[in-house]
Symmetry: C2
Subunit: 340 residues, 2 copies
DNA sequence: TTGAAAGCGGTACCAC
DNA sequence: GTGGTACCGCTTTCAA
């Protein structure tokens, strides 16, 4: 079986290529099954021939001619991260329902990689991009905007970009929620271990923590320890031991990875939660329920984040009016690690 | 900034489009930096103009004309699975080093979805496909083969497919290894909880388990409980309690998901490992090290699996000779769950 | 309803 | 070394 083109179908069906093109692109209205200016019988015949010959549209040709590809790109920072892996599914489903194909490319939390992926993606005549910005990723994202490709920022905000859509979590609220949960249980010496990643998300979670502590009258207890993405292991071990020594009662860990690191350190050193140290983590993972004492954590509305980002992008692509910035609310999943 | 084409560059640089095409496609040899029949000064000028104008090759046009896209597709069964997420990175890196772009599309363990992804992928003039077969996925995979697109089966074998490359784990060996590890510790009543997924991988792990048990003289202890992918939770709870009641000493869990389910059941019911039940799991996860008593597990050589699959695919695409079936060896990561 | 023909932006082949 | 030009397969006027 070799490449079957629209011409082959046209010849075999005894019609022009135009007709075949019409038929192949016809979405069927909810009534019977047509919507194009082609006689039903002709359409049926074309369809039959196409199927018989195993015709498959050449996306490259279609995209070249029409300038559209019905394809959107999604660039998460780490595809193996449960947060993005979960969101990906919702994005795919929603995109599919709009007739878009989705291409994934991970930036691995690197601006250079983001730039490379963006180049590839732009070369493919993509209709729009959903991207989670990384530190220093501004130029790469600007490229898309300058090429007139609609961009939606997902999960992380980035200032100074014009005409971009945004679908974010209310991270300040998330920080407050986690902190208030611990405060509500009666903990007072609550601290954070955070990343120097320089992304909006984490900064706002820190902000929420601070606000909640202030409001509760424990401003003097506010303390955030910073580590670096990638080699956090040693730092975290040090922080945790130090915290215990200083009588810290609880920690808010604003990402899954820093939480996993912390749990590892605690396990190695026989530090029990919540007895020795109460915890609230972030995002979902099997680890939270399987850990000795299940871990309380902030949950993001993955489905909504995924679906909304596609919706916003679609509106931008089709130039339809609609919300362009959407902020969603987190929720808290309780667990033994926050008990008192 | 609007679309800049090769023509714009040609005009601006005062050369023909042919020259621009040459220059844009020139890979630089390790010496200075050319490899094409273009005078260096001309090449430099073209390059400068291209950069100034912000030229970006239109992949659709290139692919349409040349019939190649320098793009390969990877279709795992579940992108959020640590196994595939890990492999993806190695695939991307290796593919990149060969000058390929990678497109991902998950089949979600569904033949229908695999078919849809395959259609999309074939429409894109893809040069080759790396796919993890799902049950009933034969027709979808045949499509690619019939379209003369090279196919490499990753992780799972599927019989009756001609001219496909294969990069697999020695799953019989993995089953033996896990079982022998437990036998070596002195366990005798060793059983398995497995899936009725109907994929080669799991069947062979079962085979390895049986062989090892037989060789050790415990043939009469061989017992495999089967559950179904998706709704294993209740089954597993039942199996585990039943196993305990029957005096089973150890379980070999041949996938991450069945292992995670088992751990959840054990935690809920206060069943301790290895005291009440010894375990050997499969694949990697943070869970294994963070679980109360760390979990011994079989590890697959992700890097090799990923790199080899790209290599095999490349050889097939370029019609270069080389191994077309590669079987890699697993290893075992010990953990407290297998102690005695 | 239908069809002819003009490109979309590159690449490949050939001539100079 | 360099340039001219016929396509790749499809969509999209425009006319019939």
């Amino acid at each position: 079986m070799k490449k079957v083109t629209i011409k082959d179908v046209a010849r075999e069906a005894g019609v022009s290529v135009t007709l075949v093109s019409f038929v192949m692109n016809a979405k069927m209205g909810k009534d019977g099954r047509l919507d194009c200016p082609v006689k039903p019988e002709t359409a049926a015949r074309v369809l039959k021939v196409a199927r018989k010959l195993g015709y498959r549209r050449n996306a490259a040709a279609a995209s070249l001619r029409s300038g559209r590809s019905n394809t959107i790109a999604v660039i998460p920072t780490d595809i193996s991260n449960k947060f993005f892996a979960g969101i990906s599914r919702y994005i795919e489903d929603k995109a599919f329902s709009y007739g878009y194909t989705v291409l994934f490319g991970s930036s691995e939390e690197s601006a250079e990689r983001l730039d490379a992926v963006m180049d590839t993606v732009l070369a493919y005549n993509i209709d729009g991009v959903i991207v989670a910005p990384v530190q220093g990723g501004m130029p790469a994202i600007s490229k898309a905007i300058n090429s007139n490709i609609p961009v939606v920022l997902l999960d992380r905000d980035m200032e100074g970009l014009e005409d971009v859509g945004k679908v974010l979590l209310d991270d300040v609220e998330a920080g407050k929620m986690a902190t208030n949960h611990l405060l509500g249980k009666g903990y007072k010496k609550i601290e954070m271990i955070s990343y120097t990643l320089g992304i909006s998300t984490i900064k706002e979670r820190e902000e929420g923590y601070k606000v909640a502590m202030k409001e509760a009258g424990f401003e003097e207890n506010i303390n955030i320890q910073y580590t670096t993405y990638g080699d956090a292991k040693a730092d975290v071990a040090h922080f945790v031991k130090d915290a215990i020594a200083r009588g810290v009662e609880a920690l808010f860990l604003p990402t899954y990875s820093v939480c996993a690191q912390t749990l590892a350190v605690m396990k190695e050193n026989g530090i029990k939660t919540p007895k020795d140290l109460a915890l609230v983590g972030f995002d979902e993972s099997d680890v939270y329920s399987l850990y000795e004492n299940s871990v309380a954590h902030i949950v993001q509305p993955l489905r909504e984040l995924g679906e909304k980002s596609v919706q916003v992008l679609r509106n931008m692509i089709e130039k339809e009016p609609g919300e362009t910035t959407i902020i969603l609310k987190p929720s808290l999943m309780d667990g033994g690690s926050a008990d008192k």
